[in-house]
Protein backbone atom coordinates (compact mmCIF):
# COMPACT_ATOMS: atom_id res chain seq x y z
CA UNK A 1 0.00 0.00 0.00
CA UNK A 2 1.04 3.52 -0.85
CA UNK A 3 0.77 4.82 2.70
CA UNK A 4 2.62 2.01 4.47
CA UNK A 5 6.12 3.09 3.47
CA UNK A 6 5.51 6.60 4.64
CA UNK A 7 4.06 5.47 7.96
CA UNK A 8 7.07 3.23 8.55
CA UNK A 9 9.24 6.29 7.92
CA UNK A 10 7.19 8.26 10.47
CA UNK A 11 7.67 5.51 13.06
CA UNK A 12 11.42 5.47 12.38
CA UNK A 13 11.74 9.25 12.68
CA UNK A 14 9.73 9.41 15.90
CA UNK A 15 11.60 6.46 17.45
CA UNK A 16 14.86 8.25 16.81
CA UNK A 17 13.47 11.49 18.13
CA UNK A 18 12.34 9.69 21.30
CA UNK A 19 15.80 8.23 21.76
CA UNK A 20 17.71 11.50 21.32
CA UNK A 21 15.28 13.36 23.60
CA UNK A 22 15.25 10.51 26.14
CA UNK A 23 11.48 10.23 26.19
CA UNK A 24 10.21 7.38 28.34
CA UNK A 25 6.96 6.98 26.55
CA UNK A 26 5.44 8.59 23.49
CA UNK A 27 1.72 8.90 24.09
CA UNK A 28 0.61 10.39 20.76
CA UNK A 29 2.09 11.25 17.38
CA UNK A 30 0.45 14.21 15.67
CA UNK A 31 0.60 14.33 11.88
CA UNK A 32 -0.44 17.16 9.58
CA UNK A 33 -1.72 16.07 6.21
CA UNK A 34 -2.70 18.42 3.38
CA UNK A 35 -6.05 17.91 1.66
CA UNK A 36 -4.22 17.53 -1.64
CA UNK A 37 -1.46 15.32 -0.31
CA UNK A 38 -1.42 11.89 -1.90
CA UNK A 39 -1.70 10.44 1.60
CA UNK A 40 -5.22 9.58 2.67
CA UNK A 41 -5.79 9.93 6.44
CA UNK A 42 -8.02 6.87 6.61
CA UNK A 43 -5.38 4.67 4.96
CA UNK A 44 -2.70 6.13 7.21
CA UNK A 45 -4.80 5.12 10.22
CA UNK A 46 -5.43 1.68 8.74
CA UNK A 47 -1.78 0.79 8.27
CA UNK A 48 -0.50 2.49 11.42
CA UNK A 49 -1.02 -0.57 13.70
CA UNK A 50 1.06 -2.71 11.32
CA UNK A 51 3.83 -0.11 11.21
CA UNK A 52 4.18 0.16 15.01
CA UNK A 53 3.72 -3.55 15.71
CA UNK A 54 6.70 -4.86 17.67
CA UNK A 55 8.31 -1.41 18.00
CA UNK A 56 8.62 0.72 21.17
CA UNK A 57 5.75 2.82 19.75
CA UNK A 58 3.34 -0.12 19.83
CA UNK A 59 0.98 1.63 22.28
CA UNK A 60 1.42 5.13 20.90
CA UNK A 61 -1.72 6.80 19.59
CA UNK A 62 -1.99 8.57 16.27
CA UNK A 63 -3.71 11.92 15.69
CA UNK A 64 -4.14 13.53 12.28
CA UNK A 65 -4.77 17.20 11.54
CA UNK A 66 -5.94 17.99 8.04
CA UNK A 67 -4.53 21.13 6.40
CA UNK A 68 -6.93 22.79 3.92
CA UNK A 69 -5.92 23.15 0.28
CA UNK A 70 -5.76 26.92 -0.15
CA UNK A 71 -4.71 29.03 -3.08
CA UNK A 72 -4.32 32.71 -3.87
CA UNK A 73 -5.75 34.03 -7.13
CA UNK A 74 -3.10 35.70 -9.27
CA UNK A 75 -5.60 38.18 -10.73
CA UNK A 76 -7.66 39.42 -7.79
CA UNK A 77 -5.62 38.02 -4.87
CA UNK A 78 -8.62 36.30 -3.33
CA UNK A 79 -7.67 33.38 -1.07
CA UNK A 80 -9.91 30.34 -1.55
CA UNK A 81 -10.20 26.60 -0.93
CA UNK A 82 -9.15 24.74 -4.07
CA UNK A 83 -11.41 21.73 -3.50
CA UNK A 84 -14.51 23.68 -2.50
CA UNK A 85 -14.25 25.91 -5.56
CA UNK A 86 -13.29 23.28 -8.14
CA UNK A 87 -9.85 24.83 -8.79
CA UNK A 88 -11.35 28.18 -9.86
CA UNK A 89 -11.27 31.55 -8.12
CA UNK A 90 -14.80 32.08 -6.72
CA UNK A 91 -14.51 35.85 -7.33
CA UNK A 92 -13.17 36.23 -10.84
CA UNK A 93 -13.39 32.60 -12.09
CA UNK A 94 -9.75 32.70 -13.09
CA UNK A 95 -7.78 29.43 -13.05
CA UNK A 96 -4.41 31.05 -12.58
CA UNK A 97 -3.53 30.73 -8.90
CA UNK A 98 -0.67 29.81 -6.61
CA UNK A 99 -1.00 27.10 -4.00
CA UNK A 100 -0.56 28.26 -0.41
CA UNK A 101 -1.09 24.97 1.40
CA UNK A 102 -2.52 21.51 1.00
CA UNK A 103 0.35 19.26 -0.10
CA UNK A 104 1.93 18.84 3.35
CA UNK A 105 2.81 15.62 5.05
CA UNK A 106 4.40 16.57 8.35
CA UNK A 107 5.10 15.08 11.72
CA UNK A 108 3.89 18.08 13.69
CA UNK A 109 4.69 17.01 17.25
CA UNK A 110 4.63 14.21 19.77
CA UNK A 111 2.95 14.15 23.14
CA UNK A 112 5.21 12.30 25.53
CA UNK A 113 6.42 11.86 29.04
Amino acid sequence: MHELGVVIEVVKTVSEFAKTHQLQKVDTIVLQIGQLSSMIPKYIEDCYPAAVDGTPLEHTKLAIEVIPAEAICKQCHQIFNILQHQSKCPDCQCEDWGMLSGKEFLIKEVIAY
Binding site: M1, L4, G5, V6, L23, S38, L106, E109, A112
Partner: protein, 223 residues
Protein backbone atom coordinates in the same frame (compact mmCIF):
# COMPACT_ATOMS: atom_id res chain seq x y z
CA UNK B 1 0.73 10.17 36.90
CA UNK B 2 3.65 11.88 35.20
CA UNK B 3 2.94 15.04 33.33
CA UNK B 4 2.81 15.10 29.59
CA UNK B 5 4.77 17.42 27.41
CA UNK B 6 4.36 18.33 23.77
CA UNK B 7 7.52 18.25 21.70
CA UNK B 8 7.44 19.92 18.35
CA UNK B 9 9.02 17.98 15.47
CA UNK B 10 7.82 19.69 12.28
CA UNK B 11 9.56 17.26 9.98
CA UNK B 12 8.35 16.51 6.52
CA UNK B 13 8.86 12.91 5.50
CA UNK B 14 9.25 13.99 1.87
CA UNK B 15 11.89 16.55 2.86
CA UNK B 16 13.88 13.89 4.69
CA UNK B 17 13.87 11.68 1.64
CA UNK B 18 14.82 14.64 -0.58
CA UNK B 19 17.83 15.35 1.62
CA UNK B 20 18.98 11.73 1.50
CA UNK B 21 18.52 11.72 -2.26
CA UNK B 22 20.72 14.82 -2.63
CA UNK B 23 23.44 13.17 -0.52
CA UNK B 24 23.25 10.02 -2.61
CA UNK B 25 23.58 12.05 -5.84
CA UNK B 26 26.68 13.75 -4.45
CA UNK B 27 28.20 10.32 -3.69
CA UNK B 28 27.34 9.09 -7.18
CA UNK B 29 29.09 12.12 -8.65
CA UNK B 30 32.25 11.30 -6.68
CA UNK B 31 32.15 7.69 -7.76
CA UNK B 32 31.48 8.73 -11.39
CA UNK B 33 28.48 6.43 -11.31
CA UNK B 34 25.34 7.28 -13.27
CA UNK B 35 22.05 6.06 -11.81
CA UNK B 36 18.92 5.99 -13.97
CA UNK B 37 15.52 5.51 -12.36
CA UNK B 38 13.18 3.74 -14.78
CA UNK B 39 9.48 3.91 -14.03
CA UNK B 40 6.26 2.75 -15.72
CA UNK B 41 3.03 0.81 -15.22
CA UNK B 42 3.36 -2.96 -14.86
CA UNK B 43 4.07 -4.69 -18.16
CA UNK B 44 4.94 -1.66 -20.27
CA UNK B 45 8.24 -3.28 -21.24
CA UNK B 46 10.86 -2.11 -18.72
CA UNK B 47 12.72 -5.41 -18.53
CA UNK B 48 12.55 -6.05 -22.29
CA UNK B 49 13.81 -2.51 -22.98
CA UNK B 50 16.62 -2.98 -20.46
CA UNK B 51 17.77 -6.15 -22.18
CA UNK B 52 18.06 -4.42 -25.57
CA UNK B 53 19.68 -1.35 -23.97
CA UNK B 54 22.26 -3.56 -22.27
CA UNK B 55 23.05 -5.26 -25.58
CA UNK B 56 23.67 -1.85 -27.14
CA UNK B 57 25.86 -0.44 -24.41
CA UNK B 58 27.64 -3.34 -22.73
CA UNK B 59 30.81 -3.03 -24.81
CA UNK B 60 31.25 0.62 -23.83
CA UNK B 61 29.99 0.78 -20.25
CA UNK B 62 30.10 -1.33 -17.10
CA UNK B 63 26.43 -1.79 -16.33
CA UNK B 64 24.48 -2.98 -13.29
CA UNK B 65 20.74 -3.41 -12.85
CA UNK B 66 18.59 -3.17 -9.74
CA UNK B 67 15.21 -4.87 -10.03
CA UNK B 68 12.64 -3.68 -7.53
CA UNK B 69 9.71 -6.01 -7.18
CA UNK B 70 7.22 -6.52 -4.45
CA UNK B 71 8.04 -10.20 -4.13
CA UNK B 72 9.56 -12.07 -7.07
CA UNK B 73 12.83 -12.45 -8.94
CA UNK B 74 11.65 -13.24 -12.46
CA UNK B 75 13.07 -10.02 -13.92
CA UNK B 76 16.40 -10.46 -12.15
CA UNK B 77 16.78 -13.87 -13.81
CA UNK B 78 16.01 -12.38 -17.23
CA UNK B 79 18.71 -9.73 -16.73
CA UNK B 80 21.20 -12.24 -15.29
CA UNK B 81 20.89 -14.22 -18.53
CA UNK B 82 22.50 -11.27 -20.40
CA UNK B 83 25.58 -11.64 -18.18
CA UNK B 84 24.95 -8.29 -16.48
CA UNK B 85 25.39 -7.69 -12.77
CA UNK B 86 21.95 -7.60 -11.18
CA UNK B 87 20.40 -7.37 -7.73
CA UNK B 88 16.82 -8.05 -6.76
CA UNK B 89 15.35 -5.64 -4.22
CA UNK B 90 12.22 -6.84 -2.50
CA UNK B 91 10.09 -3.92 -1.43
CA UNK B 92 7.94 -6.08 0.82
CA UNK B 93 4.57 -4.71 -0.24
CA UNK B 94 5.75 -1.17 -0.73
CA UNK B 95 4.80 0.58 -3.91
CA UNK B 96 7.91 2.67 -4.47
CA UNK B 97 11.60 2.89 -3.63
CA UNK B 98 13.04 5.75 -1.61
CA UNK B 99 16.59 7.07 -1.49
CA UNK B 100 17.55 4.92 1.51
CA UNK B 101 16.48 1.67 -0.15
CA UNK B 102 18.19 2.71 -3.38
CA UNK B 103 21.42 3.33 -1.52
CA UNK B 104 21.24 -0.08 0.13
CA UNK B 105 20.67 -1.62 -3.29
CA UNK B 106 23.75 0.10 -4.71
CA UNK B 107 25.82 -1.19 -1.80
CA UNK B 108 24.46 -4.69 -2.33
CA UNK B 109 25.32 -4.49 -6.02
CA UNK B 110 28.82 -3.29 -5.13
CA UNK B 111 28.29 -0.59 -7.74
CA UNK B 112 31.26 1.70 -7.10
CA UNK B 113 33.27 0.35 -10.05
CA UNK B 114 30.35 0.58 -12.50
CA UNK B 115 29.53 3.37 -14.99
CA UNK B 116 25.78 2.93 -15.22
CA UNK B 117 23.17 1.46 -12.91
CA UNK B 118 19.53 1.29 -13.92
CA UNK B 119 16.90 0.93 -11.23
CA UNK B 120 13.76 -0.79 -12.54
CA UNK B 121 11.30 0.77 -10.11
CA UNK B 122 8.05 -0.86 -8.96
CA UNK B 123 5.42 -0.87 -11.75
CA UNK B 124 3.24 2.07 -10.75
CA UNK B 125 2.68 5.57 -12.18
CA UNK B 126 1.75 7.29 -8.92
CA UNK B 127 3.95 6.59 -5.91
CA UNK B 128 7.42 6.37 -7.50
CA UNK B 129 6.90 9.87 -8.89
CA UNK B 130 6.76 11.27 -5.37
CA UNK B 131 9.97 9.81 -4.03
CA UNK B 132 13.32 11.04 -5.29
CA UNK B 133 15.52 7.93 -5.37
CA UNK B 134 18.74 9.91 -5.73
CA UNK B 135 18.98 9.00 -9.42
CA UNK B 136 20.85 11.32 -11.80
CA UNK B 137 18.05 11.10 -14.38
CA UNK B 138 14.52 9.77 -14.39
CA UNK B 139 12.93 7.93 -17.28
CA UNK B 140 9.50 6.50 -17.84
CA UNK B 141 8.01 4.11 -20.34
CA UNK B 142 4.50 4.47 -21.67
CA UNK B 143 3.48 1.62 -23.94
CA UNK B 144 1.02 1.95 -26.80
CA UNK B 145 -1.65 -0.42 -25.38
CA UNK B 146 -1.95 1.77 -22.26
CA UNK B 147 -3.46 4.64 -24.24
CA UNK B 148 -2.45 8.19 -25.15
CA UNK B 149 -4.44 9.84 -22.35
CA UNK B 150 -1.97 8.86 -19.60
CA UNK B 151 -0.28 12.32 -19.32
CA UNK B 152 -3.73 13.68 -18.42
CA UNK B 153 -4.29 11.04 -15.74
CA UNK B 154 -0.82 10.89 -14.18
CA UNK B 155 0.52 14.44 -14.60
CA UNK B 156 3.07 14.25 -11.78
CA UNK B 157 4.95 11.33 -13.32
CA UNK B 158 5.15 13.06 -16.72
CA UNK B 159 6.30 16.30 -15.13
CA UNK B 160 9.26 14.84 -13.21
CA UNK B 161 10.90 12.61 -15.84
CA UNK B 162 13.73 13.66 -18.15
CA UNK B 163 12.84 11.22 -20.88
CA UNK B 164 9.69 9.46 -22.00
CA UNK B 165 10.00 6.26 -24.00
CA UNK B 166 6.90 5.33 -25.96
CA UNK B 167 7.25 1.56 -26.24
CA UNK B 168 5.56 -1.15 -28.32
CA UNK B 169 5.21 1.11 -31.35
CA UNK B 170 5.17 -2.10 -33.42
CA UNK B 171 1.58 -2.50 -32.21
CA UNK B 172 0.41 0.97 -33.19
CA UNK B 173 -1.78 -0.33 -36.03
CA UNK B 174 -3.91 -2.27 -33.55
CA UNK B 175 -4.41 0.50 -31.02
CA UNK B 176 -5.88 3.94 -31.29
CA UNK B 177 -2.77 5.75 -30.06
CA UNK B 178 -1.67 9.21 -31.15
CA UNK B 179 2.08 9.68 -30.56
CA UNK B 180 1.98 13.39 -31.43
CA UNK B 181 -0.84 13.95 -28.92
CA UNK B 182 1.14 12.24 -26.13
CA UNK B 183 4.18 14.31 -26.98
CA UNK B 184 2.15 17.55 -26.90
CA UNK B 185 0.48 16.61 -23.59
CA UNK B 186 3.79 15.63 -22.01
CA UNK B 187 5.52 18.81 -23.20
CA UNK B 188 2.76 20.95 -21.79
CA UNK B 189 3.52 19.49 -18.35
CA UNK B 190 7.26 19.38 -18.87
CA UNK B 191 8.73 21.49 -21.71
CA UNK B 192 12.20 19.89 -21.45
CA UNK B 193 11.06 16.28 -21.70
CA UNK B 194 12.70 14.12 -24.38
CA UNK B 195 10.28 11.82 -26.16
CA UNK B 196 11.65 8.74 -27.91
CA UNK B 197 9.34 6.20 -29.59
CA UNK B 198 10.76 2.66 -29.42
CA UNK B 199 9.92 -0.97 -29.89
CA UNK B 200 11.83 -3.19 -27.50
CA UNK B 201 10.60 -6.09 -29.63
CA UNK B 202 11.82 -5.00 -33.09
CA UNK B 203 14.65 -2.76 -31.86
CA UNK B 204 13.26 0.34 -33.56
CA UNK B 205 14.37 3.52 -31.78
CA UNK B 206 16.58 1.64 -29.31
CA UNK B 207 19.72 3.10 -30.84
CA UNK B 208 18.50 6.68 -30.36
CA UNK B 209 17.57 5.87 -26.76
CA UNK B 210 20.89 4.13 -26.05
CA UNK B 211 22.74 7.12 -27.55
CA UNK B 212 20.83 9.53 -25.33
CA UNK B 213 21.70 7.45 -22.27
CA UNK B 214 25.34 7.06 -23.28
CA UNK B 215 25.69 10.84 -23.74
CA UNK B 216 24.16 11.44 -20.30
CA UNK B 217 26.56 8.99 -18.65
CA UNK B 218 29.55 10.69 -20.30
CA UNK B 219 28.39 14.15 -19.27
CA UNK B 220 27.95 12.98 -15.66
CA UNK B 221 31.37 11.35 -15.53
CA UNK B 222 33.32 14.11 -17.21
CA UNK B 223 31.84 17.45 -16.15
Amino acid sequence: MEKFKVLEIKESIFDNNDKRAELLRAELKQDKLFLLNLMSSPGSGKTTTLVSTINHLKDDLNIGIMEADIDSDVDAHTIANTGTKVIQLHTGGMCHLDAEMTKQGLNGLDAKSLDLVVLENVGNLVCPAEFDTGAVKNAMILSVPEGDDKPLKYPLMFSIVDVLLINKIDTIGVFDFDIAAVEARAKKLNPNIQVIPISARTGEGIEQWADWLHTQVHAWQNH
